[in-house]
């Protein structure tokens, strides 16, 4: 097991990005309705071995981004534009057949709800070996011991017995582990985790996060972590992208981003969540309004109606993406002054 899971020799950061997403745009168009742009020009790079976080609230486009990258959006009723270059090939231009060959082998995905992503009438063992049979041409007989090793690797107790179990016989945490085992079966170089712990209890969440962290370190797999939980991001991600209404509004190294958030949305999010370690009785500072109070990005800043820092210009022009001197990216006309930040 240790040989197959060892650090891959090509996982050095100097080789350039593993995946480069440029100007990704996903538009949903239903017959007779106005088109809705769920993802509006998102660009980011993922380097080998790196963990990149996409954070945002419901409707910010974080999940649609991952589905578009995996080619999992329905063919009808939507338009995907832009480029997603994975080792020289544009994933978005691949045919269905070519994408199927890559999915699970080069890029794997872990979903939020393990019960609905596992087949309820097929045993765990067969679901894990299936991936290896499809991509590596292994026979089921050869793949089964490896499936057992994978289950053991992700911390499932008594893996031999679990191979014969069906998803409903496992607990939520165990199902998520089985899903991770499936994702790792072909040693993908990129793993996309879409809210992998949201359906789980907090003590189980801690177990799964520790497991993901360990796997990323051991195998050199790059990870795209999609979540709404800033706490999860703080412990796991190297680079954090904050999304609002389909665009990245702030990007930075996690230490800088959390210590000195510059975008009013990031800042607002951080001061609106109750923290376990903050003094009690401290009043929370909520962001006013709700996620649906948006302006269109084309002619304004979408966050302006809820922003405590909004200027007139924010409602009249679309803020451009700018790089700050500390390597952080920002889309804001009137960013938060670092001095003003509560936790400096």
């Amino acid at each position: 097991m240790s040989a197959t899971m060892s650090l891959k020799d090509d996982a050095t950061p100097s080789t350039g990005p593993l995946l480069s997403v440029e100007d990704l745009r996903v538009t949903f168009q239903r017959h007779g309705e106005k088109p809705f742009t769920a993802v509006d020009g998102v660009s980011f790079d993922v380097h080998p071995g790196q963990t990149v976080g996409l954070v945002g609230e419901s409707g910010c486009g974080k999940s649609v981004t991952s589905l578009a990258l995996m080619g999992l959006l329905p063919k009808r009723g939507n338009r995907v534009e832009g480029r997603a270059t994975y080792e020289g090939t544009d994933l978005l231009s691949l045919s269905d057949k070519e994408m199927r060959d890559r999915r699970g082998r080069d890029i794997a995905m872990i979903f939020q709800d393990p019960l609905s992503s596992l087949n309820p009438v097929v045993s765990i063992g067969i679901q894990v070996t299936e991936v290896m049979e499809r991509h590596q041409g292994m026979s089921r007989k050869d793949a089964m011991p490896r499936a057992r090793d994978l289950l053991e690797r992700v911390g499932i107790p008594d893996p031999n017995a679990r191979l014969k179990n069906y998803p409903h016989q496992l607990s939520g945490g165990m199902r998520q582990r089985a899903l991770i085992a499936m994702a790792l079966a072909c040693e993908p170089r990129l793993l996309i985790a879409d809210e992998p712990t949201t359906a789980l209890d907090v003590t189980i969440q801690a177990q799964i996060l520790a497991l993901l962290k360990e796997l990323v370190q051991d195998t050199g797999t790059a990870l795209i972590m999609i979540t709404h939980d800033l706490g999860v991001v703080a412990g796991l991600c190297d680079e954090v992208n904050v999304l609002y209404a389909g665009r990245i509004v702030e990007r930075g190294d996690r230490h800088r981003l959390f210590a000195r958030p510059r975008h009013p949305y990031t800042h607002g999010l951080l001061s609106s969540i109750p923290r376990l370690d903050s003094p009690r009785g401290e009043k929370l500072t909520p962001i006013t309004g709700s996620v649906s109070d948006n302006l269109p990005w084309t002619s304004a800043c979408a966050f302006a109606p809820r922003c405590s820092h909004a200027l007139d210009v924010c409602r009249q022009e679309s803020p451009p993406w700018e790089w700050e001197s500390d390597g952080r990216g920002l889309r804001c006309f009137n960013p938060v002054d670092p001095e003003e930040v509560r936790r400096g």
Binding site: P157, Q169, R175, V202, G231, G235, L270, R275, L276
Partner: protein, 385 residues
Amino acid sequence: MADPRTSRTKAQAGDVLVDVRGLKVHFPIKRGVIFDRTVGHVYAVDGVDLQLRRGETYGLVGESGCGKSTLGRAILNLETPTEGTVLFDGEDIASLKGETLRRKRQHMQMVFQDPMSSLDPRQSVESLLVEGMRAHGLDTDKAATHARLRELLQAVGLPPAALQKYPHEFSGGQRQRIGIARALSVDPELIVADEPVSALDVSVQAQVLNLLEELQDEFGLTFLVVAHDLAVVRHISDRIGVMYLGGLVEESEAGELYDLPLHPYTRALMSAVPVPDPVLEDTREQILLTGDLPSPSRPPSGCRFHTRCPWRQPTRCDDERPQLRVVDVPGASEGHRVACHWVEAIASGDVDRHEVAAEYVGSGDATTPADDGSPFGPASVQEIG
């Protein structure tokens, strides 16, 4: 119309409003087509003592399946207790029936988790709010009712125009405000809020949390907040009870619980909550629990937590169920109670942490109930969905 609030003035803040003694709520697991055999029980709440004082916010935390929602519902007499009593204002509510019980309900209201499914989509906000008032005879005078509605909406931060609208026209946070206004409409003394913010977006949660705090200050309400999010509970609660598999394992004043968590489960729970601070996340020590929550239909013997406890000892833990008791630990106050045999030794460092091997816990297999837990899965009946 007599102002119902006047009756409250004779009661002092700090009095015990709700007194729960030895409460047990067990749900039978039934099998068979012709004969409804009972093949086992889900021990959702299994022996809980709890006092809610007037004017305080009591937070109940725990993971899914620990019985926290069932306990909240049992306090409102929405579940029939299998054993034990719930005294509301000195009166045993389980013994109340029919009209007296219905009248009593005016004083205890509930705010539900999902505002979309707890509000009738075909009722306007006005009719939603008036319905409860009418049921309790508070809607006698049109002008007074109208004034009261405006007052309610103002209290929860909604515009007066909201009265003519329907639930689907509001955002999640606003719907939760309507749910809170409905609970307030009959001027209750106790509000049980079951996961009041977990269905809301992060940026909106703070709005509702602040609202709950303001309302308490304004109306002198007693809150029981049931939630799985420790940070949320700690933020709004005066006292916190931590539940594990149907029983309270630790109870303390909110600040002290964070500074000095004593029960091994509380310590693990605290350390598992991710904090949005990379420096802290990198440096703090995490107590990772192995394995899953055992099924509440087959709880472990002795201390319920012994199968996952990193401080489990060879004696007592496996066969003797610890009671909630005041502990002799430096820094722990009078009201800090812990259900652990070894808490003093753990706190002083005499007992060391050790590795725990994960045990397989099935999610419940419907065909073999006696062997593999309840058909309800890891959660108790009331907590599904």
